[in-house]
């Protein structure tokens, strides 16, 4: 009887694994590599790759610069206030991206105060690279904050106390003790943030259908010219995902 239970459990897990594995393999083998490579150089595809890499890099940089201090503060503060702030950070994480796009539109959309003002000075916040960055930052930065927070929390506080009791300032302590030890975790967070940003679809399509990022281009290709046209970009994004896994492990 014990064996039966184990077998069933094993089987269930194996089915789920196959459900992950088979489609991924299928994507890679569905099309001859030559055809995929050829299509990689079409103008639509190269433009999308350029837009995505640029915007994801900027979003990740913003998320890191604004997110790291917040992560440190959350990791080193206890009590209600910090729990509330953590909840606020996690909220964009559990919010459907399409809703994230909507809520951003209510603030930076073309008919809003902010949106029209920005358009007037020549920096439209929607249908622009800025719009893509705004969408990606909203969706991806919580990953950076949450992961970096966990990384800082894993650094024993007594190491920080030890450093400061040796006469070193908070800043020196952060730079020479906390940061180097938390670095692998922070790097994982930044990498996850980049992966999330470059794959962002729901919020981006609401804020900036154009200029097309890779996910939006997949959608456009799929709806206008069928699945085949979307393959090269999908393979690129799969490559980014695999690279992400390699970095965070």
């Amino acid at each position: 009887e014990r064996l039966d239970w184990l077998s069933v459990a094993f089987l269930l897990g194996a089915v789920l694994l196959c459900y992950y594995l088979v489609p991924l393999v299928s994507l890679v083998v569905a099309q001859p590599p030559g055809a995929v490579l050829d299509r990689l150089t079409t103008p639509d595809v190269t433009a999308a790759v350029r837009t995505s890499v640029l915007t994801a890099a900027v979003s990740t940089a913003l998320a890191t610069v604004f997110g790291l201090p917040l992560a440190y503060w959350l990791a080193r503060t206890e009590g209600r206030r910090s729990a509330l702030v953590t909840a606020l950070v996690v909220l964009p994480l559990v919010l459907p991206p399409i809703v994230s796009g909507m809520v951003l539109l209510t603030v930076v959309g073309p008919n809003t105060l902010l949106g029209s003002a920005a358009t007037a000075v020549g920096v439209p916040l929607t249908r622009s690279v800025v719009g893509v960055v705004l969408a990606q930052t909203f969706v991806a930065s919580p990953f950076v904050v949450v992961t970096a927070k966990a990384a800082v929390e894993s650094v024993d506080r007594s190491l920080e106390y030890a450093s400061r009791s040796l006469g070193k300032s908070r800043w020196t302590t952060f730079r020479r003790v906390t940061l180097p030890i938390a670095w692998p975790g922070i790097l994982a967070g930044v990498t996850l943030g980049f992966a999330r940003a470059i794959g962002e679809f729901g919020a981006t399509i609401m804020l900036a259908y154009y200029p097309r990022t890779m996910p939006v281009q997949i959608w456009v290709s799929f709806t206008t010219r069928g699945l085949d046209e979307a393959f090269p970009i999908a393979v690129v994004l799969l490559g980014v995902a695999v690279a992400t896994l390699v970095v965070i492990n």
């Binding site: 007594s158 450093s163 009791s165 040796l166 006469g167 070193k168």
Partner: protein, 344 residues
């Protein structure tokens, strides 16, 4: 001089203080069970937590409100708190003013051979010595140590204890040594403070605390296992006679006849009178209940009437037949070994 005045801190379910303590040059051992407030005391002095009230001064300047880095308080944390991404040398250099100082400290603490290792590659004793070197490298005005010996194996612990003893003698700053181990506290402290439930129960020389405890808690925690209630049946010029159940004991304490006292005797002061000895001293008679062989000594529990007394005796000082459970033996308790803790 390090001075704590009316220091208090409250946590949910735990009140620390008010605590008054002072350490001039020399070592103050702070001894207490887990949960007695030892860590709180250390954290308050180091600046890791802020007190609710009271004052901490070091050489006259107030520390309260100052950040850790401005206190010049050196702390050796329980597991060393070495920076894991630096070698032992880098750890010490992090704090040191010059390279010479690193080499000097490494020599003093005998860690020259392991300076290029990361903390993960050090043994427990090496880790603690590197931590100590790092703390001293910052040239602190006082030194706090949090149970640095607790996680070490006996021979290494004993060796590091010897080294600490010699090191402390060479320092001329106040040292606070926090521990739950009575031996370490006694050996290393010039004075000994016993902490219980956030309060200092007694501060004195180790000998005074061990032999003249001021509370039953201090007595038990410092090894006076025989704590008992007794009636005073006779007063004498040189002390009094106590009665515990149907056993009579002499004490050098001057207590009034008719009062009830709480008294204690260290097991090491109870002697087993050998079979053939002449009954020159007053003795108690009892039956051996349990004998534990601790290696260099026997720890015997003897029932004298309804008083159960523990004696710690040297194997070479007793007849082996006398240590068997069930045997009837004679015990001698010197009058100056019977310490009266409290009268009522």
């Amino acid at each position: 001089m390090l001075e704590l005045t009316a220091l208090t801190k409250s946590y949910p379910g735990f009140e620390f203080g008010p605590v008054d303590l002072s350490v001039e040059r020399g070592v103050l051992s702070v001894l207490g069970p887990s949960g007695s407030g030892k860590s709180t005391l250390l954290s308050l002095v180091a600046g890791i937590v802020s007190p609710d009230g009271g004052e901490v001064t070091l050489d006259g300047r107030s520390l309260v409100g100052r950040p850790l880095e401005a206190r010049r308080v050196g702390v050796v944390f329980q597991e060393g708190a070495l920076f894991p991404h630096m070698t032992a040398r880098e750890n010490v250099e992090y704090a040191a003013t010059g390279r010479d100082r690193v080499d000097e400290l490494a020599g003093m603490l005998e860690i020259e051979g392991v300076l290029d290792r990361r903390p993960a590659a050090l043994s427990g004793g090496e880790r603690q010595r590197v931590a100590l070197a790092r703390t001293l490298a910052a040239d602190p005005d006082t030194l706090l140590l949090d149970e640095p010996l607790s996680s070490l194996d006996t021979p290494i612990r004993r060796r590091l204890r010897d080294q600490l003893h010699d090191l402390f003698a060479s320092l001329d700053i106040p040292v606070v040594y926090v521990t739950h181990d009575q031996r370490a506290a006694t050996v290393l402290g010039d004075r000994l403070a016993v902490l219980h439930a956030g309060q200092v129960e007694q501060v004195d020389t180790p000998d005074a605390v061990l032999n003249r405890p001021e509370s039953a808690f201090v007595a038990r925690f410092t090894g006076s296992e025989n704590v008992f209630e007794a009636g005073v049946v006779e007063a004498r010029g040189d002390g009094a006679v106590l009665r515990v159940g149907d056993v009579t004991l002499q004490t050098t304490a001057r207590v009034a006849v008719g009062t009830t006292v709480t008294a204690c005797v260290r097991p090491a002061r109870v002697r087993l009178v050998t079979r053939d000895a002449a009954p020159t001293v007053p003795t108690l008679t009892g039956r051996v209940r349990r004998t534990l062989n601790e290696g260099d000594e026997y720890r015997m529990t003897v029932a004298c009437g309804d008083w159960e007394v523990t004696a710690q005796v040297r194997p070479e000082a007793v007849d082996r037949r006398d240590v068997r459970p069930g045997t009837t033996v004679r015990l001698a308790v010197p009058a100056d070994a019977v310490h009266v803790i409290a009268t009522r």
